[in-house]
């Protein structure tokens, strides 16, 4: 971790590459970008572009092959160990215990985050209420619909009031009502200062949600900037147009 002062940055990614064991092709090649405190950065690209790998490296789930990630707390360079308690992660999978109730899941992950009983209980009540799940808190997750599980998945990622939130396809497979509720909550949190790094295949949703866009293809950044700038630059009408324009129409694995 490099020691440097970058007041506006919360995260700096420097020349990251990732080669999985036994793989012949790099999943990420020389990826560099900054994340500004309080912004909503969208990472998009076709399947296999390297989005999930990138988010996994940023969260410390996977090690990078080369390059590095610098984190900043209170304008000071910080180690990953220091920044970890301030990270929230919403994985693409339902990383939940289906046999437990919604409350039991939230309590468990809250306790693991080091939250004390009173604070934890009020946070659980708040999250369940704003996500419209307060009436099913004592039901086992195995009885929940996909949309409800997705909301609980998000709630667990938010239980520690993260300063930086990584969202890997947070609205995949949910109905429009759940999607609206999730996006509304994320916008509300962002307004309170939470930085968000987000991937999605819902490009229409992403257009509205993200402040800045990073397009990945074959492990490389192929475009970076605000959506308006990118659309103008590439003479595209939408994010979908832009992606097709930059990555082609060929089907991906």
């Amino acid at each position: 971790m490099m020691l440097m002062t970058q007041p506006s940055h919360i995260l700096r990614v420097s020349s990251i590459t990732k080669l999985y064991p036994k793989a012949e092709v790099y999943s990420l090649k020389d990826v560099s970008f900054d994340v500004i405190r309080g912004e909503k950065l969208g990472i998009f690209g076709p399947n296999g572009a390297g989005k999930t790998t990138l988010i996994s490296i940023l969260c410390g789930i996977l090690p990078e092959t080369s390059g590095g990630v610098n984190y900043f707390i209170d304008n000071q360079s910080a180690t990953f160990k220091d920044v970890l308690p301030k990270i929230g992660f919403v994985p693409q999978d339902f990383a939940l215990y289906q046999e437990l109730t919604a409350m039991q899941n939230l309590r468990y992950f809250g306790k693991m985050q080091g939250l004390k009983n009173e604070e934890l209980e009020s946070k659980i009540a708040h999250l369940l209420t704003i996500l419209g799940l307060d009436h099913v808190g004592n039901r086992k997750l195995s009885t929940f619909s996909g949309g409800m599980k997705r909301r609980i998945n998000l709630a667990i990622g938010l239980i520690n009031d993260p300063e930086i939130l990584f969202l890997d396809e947070p609205t995949v497979g949910v109905d429009v009502q759940s999607k609206v509720a999730i996006i509304a909550l994320l916008n509300e949190l962002n307004q309170k200062g939470t930085t968000m790094i987000y991937t999605s295949h819902h490009l229409r949703e992403a257009e509205d949600f993200c402040d800045r866009t990073l397009l990945l293809d074959d492990g490389k950044i192929i475009a970076e900037g605000t959506l308006n700038d990118l659309l103008k630059q590439h003479n595209a009408e939408s994010l979908e147009d832009l992606l097709i324009h930059l990555t082609g129409k060929a089907l991906r694995d």
Binding site: C59, G60, I61, L62, P63, K81, L84, P85, I87, F89, P91, Q92, D93, F94, A95, L96, Y97, Q98, E99, L100, Q104, R107, Y108, F109, K111, M112, Q113, G114, K116, I156
Partner: protein
């Protein structure tokens, strides 16, 4: 500590939800202890308390056939059904259709043969002593006869039982032969009958064989089916937690829960320690329940009572080491398996194989030499060695050291393999 407590609570909830796992871990070994102990105890009684149904066809024209039957009745070894005048050719049919496990055929010339044999021996003895016998005066009888007793058995009767019955019969026939020979000896020396004092001496019990188990020090333990089966099936139950713990680990990994825990500082190790704690408790309660059943319940249904080891510290040590070996094996399987089906299938089959080669199902001493060598790779073998040393031999620390070293090594190996895999997957 709060994290650890939360993880333990979560593990307990998951465990309580796993009804199949609980049944396998608690009910299956209980059923096995009941069934196997009852079966083994019945077999033990069949051989040693001699209550075998036997048909005797007595065609002997003399008295010795009746003497043999009388000896068998006196021994109390068999439930005897006597028939006369049955043709030798009908014996097989009679045995198979008569519902008896064995048939003894006493031929017509049984007494004659015994008499001829005893005369021959008597003559040889007296000739050796240089005594002119009544036989020589009368001229030796040249009659030869075979008079073999035939023992037919139902093919379902296991070899060990056949041998035991045959040996018992041989001893009884030998007794009659001896008596007959002495009688003949006296007769050939000119006595009408054996003097009563000699008869009295012959009737006295001969040298007895007193069987007792080799023990270290004084112990009240008596080797029996309960003493063997309770520790054996407790170990099997402990290792069968691979289904629950191994499956649980795979499920958490596949669902992404482990990945989420990776993003929470220290959470993963707390979760792993909590698993070890909860499943250690499970393993030790399995053993406690099995021992309680052995001490209090088995005697109620007529089975031998379990005698607990007199030294509790080594007992606790072997119990804890066995539990740790079982948990570590389950953790290793759960870490390497890619799916829950893989963990359950491989876990169950491997434990059954370990149990089979480790002496849980059949005693190690009946195995050929190469199998004895192979059995040493089974952790269940070493757990069993440890428990047998305590439950059957009232063993010393020296005798326990082998199992202790092996179980510690096995636990360290499995934990190291699991940690290596988890590290490769970047969970720790």
């Amino acid at each position: 500590m709060e994290r650890f407590k939360a993880s333990v609570y979560k593990e307990v909830l998951l465990l309580l939800h796993d009804k199949v796992g609980l049944l396998l871990m608690y009910m299956m070994p209980l059923l096995l202890v009941f069934v196997i102990t009852i079966v083994q105890d019945s077999a033990f009684r069949l051989v040693n308390e001699n209550r075998l149904d036997i048909l005797i066809v007595n065609n002997d024209k003399g008295d010795l056939g009746d003497t043999l039957i009388s000896s068998m009745k006196h021994a109390g070894s068999f439930r005897i059904d006597v028939r006369k005048g049955v043709n030798e050719k009908q014996l097989s049919k009679l045995t198979l259709e008569g519902g008896k496990l064995a048939t003894l055929y006493i031929p017509e010339d049984f007494s004659t043969t015994m008499s001829v044999n005893s005369k021959r021996i008597s003559k040889a003895m007296l000739t050796e002593f240089g005594v002119e016998t009544e036989v020589e005066k009368r001229g030796a009888q040249k009659q030869e006869s075979n008079g073999a007793v035939k023992f037919l058995f139902d093919p379902v009767l296991q070899e060990s039982y056949q041998v035991t019955i045959k040996n018992n019969l041989q001893i009884m026939i030998s007794g009659i032969e001896s008596k007959q020979m002495i009688h003949q000896l006296y007769k050939d020396m000119g006595y009408d009958q054996i003097p009563p004092r000699i008869l009295q001496e012959l009737g006295k019990n001969r040298t007895k064989i007193v069987a007792e188990p080799a023990m270290n020090g004084e112990s009240a333990m008596i080797p029996n089916s309960t003493q063997h089966n309770v520790p054996a099936w407790s170990i099997f139950a402990m290792f069968f937690m691979v289904i629950s713990l191994g499956g649980n680990l795979v499920k958490e990994r596949v669902s992404g829960s482990f990945v989420r825990l990776q993003t929470i500082p220290g959470a993963f190790l707390h979760a792993m320690f909590a698993k070890i704690t909860v499943y250690s408790f499970v393993a030790l309660t399995q053993l406690m329940i099995m021992c309680t059943i052995g001490v209090f319940v088995l005697p109620l249904i007529g089975l031998p009572q379990l005698n607990l080891p007199t030294h509790m510290f080594p007992f606790i040590l072997i119990s804890v080491l066995s539990a740790m070996a079982a948990i570590s094996y389950a953790a290793m399987v759960g870490t390497y398996a890619r799916t829950q089906e893989q963990a359950n299938g491989f876990g169950a089959v491997s434990i059954i194989i370990f149990a089979a080669i480790g002496g849980i199902w059949v005693p190690s001493f009946v195995m050929p030499d190469y199998m004895l060598m192979i059995s040493k790779i089974s952790p269940l073998h070493w757990c069993l060695e440890g428990f047998y040393t305590l439950f059957l031999k009232n063993g010393s620390w020296d005798q326990l050291m082998g199992p202790v070293y092996y179980l510690i090594s096995f636990t360290v190996f499995c934990q190291a393999m699991a940690l290596w895999k988890l590290r490769r997957q970047h969970y720790i």
